[in-house]
């Protein structure tokens, strides 16, 4: 078995005047939970649709579970569970009917009682056992998404591709969805797109970041977070003008994000070299007409890395 569940090389897709993907290359390790990030219109859904064989790339190649998309797409799809963005399912079906219908499309699916048992287990897993007989048309957005995950997982796939599974969900629904994704685990690879970076931090072990149809960063979550280095949070009161300009002059300071906190200010100082910052930051703070109210290191945040990488990509 290949080390990668998904490999793409030089994928491009052009829609008349719009270049949706521009030479995209990415690798998703088998068995990982990979978050696929990027602004709206970056090309996430287009990439996923190419991987599913739903649209043809203008150029480039993609391999899913070792099968080249386009040439052996059917064999690949027999091992993939897919949840499209804003999924539309046949409204006349019940929850159980849809999941059963989806199961029967896969080779080697269980039959009779075994199929019924499998569907029951899946509905239990997504928390919809009590609504098995409900028609899809009568479900809330969150319930529809959970049915979507159930139909994606019903055939016990080796790869699950979820296009914004948390979109439109309330915080409780979102949390349930993330718990569901993190529970897939095992040998199954999960490749999902989202705008909710907290969720990615919580469950993903790797990340692919996309902007303007190109991958701008990819790899293990820890290595992506290295991009931002460390952040210090500093609470200040008084005249901070001189301090700000002194800090901004330091080569190891990447950025200072200031937030107004009434009579005080809170700064988030992003540093590129934690070792130098640890030695030099405190002495710099000591000098000036201000008081230091708060001073600590923050957890590394994906949101900061994301904004930094997207910002740098937009400047080029």
């Amino acid at each position: 078995m290949t080390d990668y569940a998904i490999e793409a090389r030089g994928l491009s897709k052009r829609y008349r005047k719009v270049q949706a993907l521009d030479g995209l290359s990415l690798d998703v390790a088998a068995g990982s939970i990979c978050g696929f990030l990027g602004p709206n219109g970056a090309g996430k859904s287009t990439t996923m649709k190419i991987l599913m064989g739903l649209i043809r790339p203008t150029s480039g190649h993609a391999f899913v579970l070792g099968h080249e998309v386009g040439k052996a797409g059917l064999a690949a799809r027999a091992r993939i569970g897919y949840l499209p963005q804003d999924p539309v399912f046949p409204a006349h079906l019940t929850v159980r009917g849809l999941v059963t219908y989806a199961a029967r499309l896969y080779p080697g699916h269980p039959r009779g009682r075994a199929l019924r048992r499998r569907v029951d287990e899946m509905l239990e897993q997504v928390g919809l056992a009590a609504k098995a007989r409900r028609r899809l048309a009568g479900l809330s957005g969150g319930e529809r998404q959970r049915v979507g995950v159930a139909q994606a997982l019903i055939a016990d796939p080796d790869l699950v591709i979820l296009d914004e599974p948390s979109a439109g969900l309330d915080p409780v629904g979102r949390r349930a969805m993330i718990d569901l994704i993190s529970g897939i685990g095992g040998d199954t690879t999960v490749f999902y797109s989202t705008h909710i970076l907290d969720d990615v931090e919580r469950v993903s072990d790797s990340v692919v970041m996309l902007n303007h149809g190109k991958v701008i960063a990819q790899g293990p979550l820890a290595s992506i977070l290295e991009v931002t280095g460390q952040d210090y949070v500093i609470g200040l009161r008084g005249d901070t003008t001189q301090l700000r300009s002194r800090l901004a002059d330091q080569p190891w300071v990447n950025a200072i994000v200031a937030r107004d906190r009434g009579s005080a200010e809170q700064w988030q100082v992003q540093v590129s070299d934690p070792a130098i910052a640890a030695r030099q930051l405190v002495p710099l703070l000591a000098d000036g007409d201000h008081s230091v109210l708060q001073f600590h290191l923050t957890d590394r945040r994906l949101e900061d890395a994301y904004l930094q990488l997207i910002g740098a990509s937009n400047e080029h």
Binding site: K49, R56, Y82
Partner: protein
């Protein structure tokens, strides 16, 4: 098992899954709705035309039935096929299903075949057989032949109507794939239906190979078609139309599948 055999098996399972899903839909509310609707419409109109003291159009019975069992199913077929193909394409249902191990050609063929079989049963077969049962029992007896036509001949005539339905549904599916706007598609196929056999359009030789040879879409006394004649035991000489329709239907579906395989979803 070889890769090719595995691929064929996967295709067959996916295609059968879609067809099964379509057929199951007709076993439920949808089938019941259509059955009741078309039974009511066909039998009621036939009753007005045949069983009342002064029939408004002077019809005799089986030609009304043959004409009705062309027009109503074909209109329902073109509307439902356009809705299924264009509607599912635009709302994303097709994309969802094609994300499963379902071949594109198999998906399209299974969707349209499921719809065709459901419509054939609910709009032609059952209303036709029900009418066959009660039409000869109407007093006063109004038919050309002294006795009701033989059941076998009548069932074959219904089979011809089902082939005509397939022809128009295949044309609709083909246009739906190419145009993908259901209103436009329905308008084109409705025009085709009208053009094929009404006094407005002159009959041309090439129409021998189309449903025009078999049907009439004009509502007029004595608007006999070859199907009506066949029911009344007149020798059948419209085989060219049956062959022409069958070949064209297969061609429509084949070209539709070729185009469908190239679409982005």
């Amino acid at each position: 098992m070889s890769t090719e055999a595995t691929g064929l098996r996967t295709s067959a399972i996916g295609t059968w899954g879609v067809l099964r899903g379509e057929l199951q839909r007709w076993m439920g509310r949808r089938g019941l709705f259509h059955l009741l609707l078309w039974l009511t419409v066909v039998e009621w109109l036939l009753y007005i035309a045949v069983a009342t003291e002064n029939p408004p159009f002077g019809f005799l019975g089986f030609e009304n039935l043959a004409n009705m069992l062309v027009i109503f199913p074909v209109v329902a077929g073109m509307v439902l096929t356009a809705a299924a193909v264009c509607g599912d394409y635009h709302d994303g249902t097709t994309a969802w299903l094609l994300g499963k191990p379902v071949p594109r050609g198999g998906y399209l063929a299974a969707s349209v075949t499921g719809l065709w079989l459901g419509l054939a049963a609910t709009t032609i077969l059952v209303p036709g057989l029900v009418a066959y049962w009660w039409l000869p029992r109407v007093k006063p007896y109004r038919f050309v032949t002294p006795e009701a036509p033989p059941l076998g001949r009548f069932v074959i005539a219904l089979g011809l109507l089902i082939i005509i339905l397939a022809f128009f549904m295949a044309a609709t599916a083909f246009l739906s794939i190419v145009i993908r706007r259901r209103g436009t598609v329905v308008a084109i196929v409705a025009w085709l239906l009208l053009m094929l056999r009404t006094p407005i359009f002159p009959y041309a030789d090439w129409m021998d190979y189309t449903p025009a040879r078999l049907i009439r879409t004009d509502i007029a006394p004595g608007a006999w078609s070859h199907i009506t004649e066949y029911i009344y035991d007149v020798p059948f000489d419209a085989m060219s139309a049956v062959v022409g329709m069958t070949v064209t239907t297969v061609a429509f579906v084949a070209v539709a599948i070729v185009v469908f395989r190239r679409l982005d979803f």
